[in-house]
């Protein structure tokens, strides 16, 4: 019989997330899904249960779950110190959780979002083909609360083949570097060759009103090029990683729950890998954008 997880403590914010729900952007629902897709996929790979199964995205630790039945789990992403019935256990390592045991995640020293993957996946009812919570469009399961019992799916034919992965902790550097590609409206801030109006080169600070929708950056301003100074942009589609520059010049970097359209120019777009790392930045972190081609 498949195990289940009982939520003993839900921490600040714990969401069910998977690969997301592509295909509905034209009617106002974005893809959503795990904010750090790389960390989520690593968890799925170590758990050995294939693609698309849902995990728990844990913001700054604080989650404790009791295994109802025997569970096989792994923690990836932000290196939250994990313990099993009070004994420390390793990060990015396959863990056996006996029936009745409690796995708890503490506050990670760096990074923002940890992923608790249970082999078989969190088996709540999907909405539009995905179990992801989209915080912007309010589609998908509610955030976890103490007392919730989460069903776990039956693993498919695969078995775990990797039981531990050694990783550098995210966000250890003095300032994080995020690689950007040209956006559709790079010309509005002077173009790719012109440093994007100061976007490239400045040291930005992640502000407090950042969430799964996007990071708001402060500490400098992007200058509009003269011909575009007072032009209004009709709404157009947005991608994860889009760097949008509102009239005030303080950029927004869109993450997993970004709106499907936006009315300010997107001057650059993070690489997929950089968008994952952006989702691990905390308010107050310093960040620089590095152009790649």
């Amino acid at each position: 019989m498949s195990p289940a997880l009982e939520v003993v403590s839900s921490g600040a914010l714990v969401l069910v997330e998977d690969e997301g729900r592509p295909g509905h952007a034209a009617v106002g629902v974005g893809r959503s899904g795990a904010a750090d897709r790389g960390a989520y996929r690593l968890g799925a790979r170590i758990a050995g249960h294939g693609e698309g199964r849902a995990a728990l995205e844990v913001l700054l630790g604080g989650l404790a779950v009791r295994a109802l039945g025997r569970a096989t789990v792994v923690v990836t992403g932000a290196p939250a110190p994990a313990s099993l019935d009070g004994r420390p256990v390793a990060h990015a390592t396959l863990l056996d959780v006996p029936p009745g045991s409690i796995l708890a995640l503490g506050m990670p020293a760096t990074g923002l979002r940890s992923y608790l993957t249970v082999r078989g996946g969190i088996d709540v009812d999907p909405v539009l083909g995905s179990r992801s919570t989209d915080t912007l469009s309010a589609v998908g399961p509610a955030p976890l609360r103490s007392g919730d019992v989460l069903p776990v799916g039956t693993p498919g034919g695969g078995f775990p083949t990797v039981d531990h992965v050694a990783l550098p902790a995210p966000g250890n550097e003095a300032s994080s570097l995020l690689e950007v590609l040209p956006g559709p409206r790079a010309a509005w801030v002077g173009g790719w060759g012109g440093g994007l109006g100061g976007l490239v080169g400045a040291v930005w600070t992640v502000t407090g009103d950042s969430d799964r929708v996007g990071l708001r950056l402060g500490g400098a301003r992007v200058q509009r090029a003269v011909p575009w100074a007072d032009v209004e942009l009709p709404s157009e589609g947005l991608v994860r990683g889009a760097v949008q520059v509102p009239p005030g010049g303080e950029p927004v970097v869109f993450l997993a729950d970004h709106p499907v359209t936006g009315g300010y120019p997107v001057v650059a777009v993070l690489t997929a890998s950089a968008a994952d790392r952006a989702a691990q930045l905390r308010p107050g972190d310093a960040v620089r954008l590095i152009p790649v081609t």
Binding site: P22, G23, H24, A26, V27, P184, E236, V239, T261, V269
Partner: protein, 224 residues
């Protein structure tokens, strides 16, 4: 070049997994959206990884997934655009018209009459007589920006947006009309209320109004 066929496009970069296709106006967006949607549905070649076509006022975003060949996709977009019929109006050639029943009892109906110089009865008549069509979505699940209605109904947004607009509110702003799928903040002028279910995740498709759909509002009286 024959002006009735071929849509001029500009394919702009949008990162590793998408391209943004810019065209001249909303009519071209709708014509290109219809043409690309059928190619995307076939899912061959560079379209095999494509997940979303997102129309905007003058653009179409093609989201193609992590393993997409964006150069091949851009070539395909240009080929489809060059072969597309620019004069085709997907709002008229598409499937049946979606009728939306409305009680014209909105709190801003009087303001809209004053702003347009029409009587309240004229506002209702103008809103119901001309067909609308869905230009694009966004803002909220199931929210559709409707265009093509009576140009006399062009009104500005309210000076102060409401903190909460009731779900089902039928509204006007600028070139657009819309029905709020659920309660949300909003600055549009509210002229009526509808019981139409715009968004239902249990329904296939969940959105009542998808891009290109023709829409007609029907006055069902304020007491029904």
């Amino acid at each position: 070049m024959d002006s009735s066929t071929g849509i001029p496009v500009d394919v702009l970069p949008a990162g590793e997994e998408a391209v943004l296709v810019e065209v001249a106006d909303l009519d071209d967006v709708l014509a290109l959206d219809a043409a690309l949607r059928s190619v995307a549905a076939e899912g061959t070649g560079p379209w095999s990884a494509a997940t979303d076509l997102v129309p905007g006022a003058r653009t179409l975003l093609v989201i193609a997934g992590p393993r997409a060949d964006l150069a091949a996709l851009s070539r395909s977009v240009r080929e489809v655009a060059a072969a597309a019929d620019r004069s085709r109006d997907p709002g008229r050639t598409g499937a049946a018209v979606v009728e939306i029943p409305v009680r014209y009892d909105g709190p801003d109906l009087g303001d809209v009459a004053a702003l347009t110089g029409l009587t309240v009865a004229d506002v209702v008549a103008a809103h119901t007589q001309m067909p609308w069509r869905v230009a694009f979505g966004g803002f909220a699940p199931g929210f559709a920006y409707l265009v093509g209605g009576d140009p006399r109904l062009r009104v500005p947004r309210r000076d102060t947006p409401r903190v909460s607009v009731p779900g089902g509110s039928v509204a006007l702003a600028g070139d657009f009309s819309a029905v709020y799928p659920r309660p949300s903040p909003g600055g549009w002028q509210l002229i009526g209320t509808s019981d139409a279910v715009l968004w239902d995740v249990e329904r296939q498709p969940p959105a009542l109004l998808t891009p290109g759909t023709a829409v007609r509002f029907v006055d069902v009286g304020s007491d029904s």
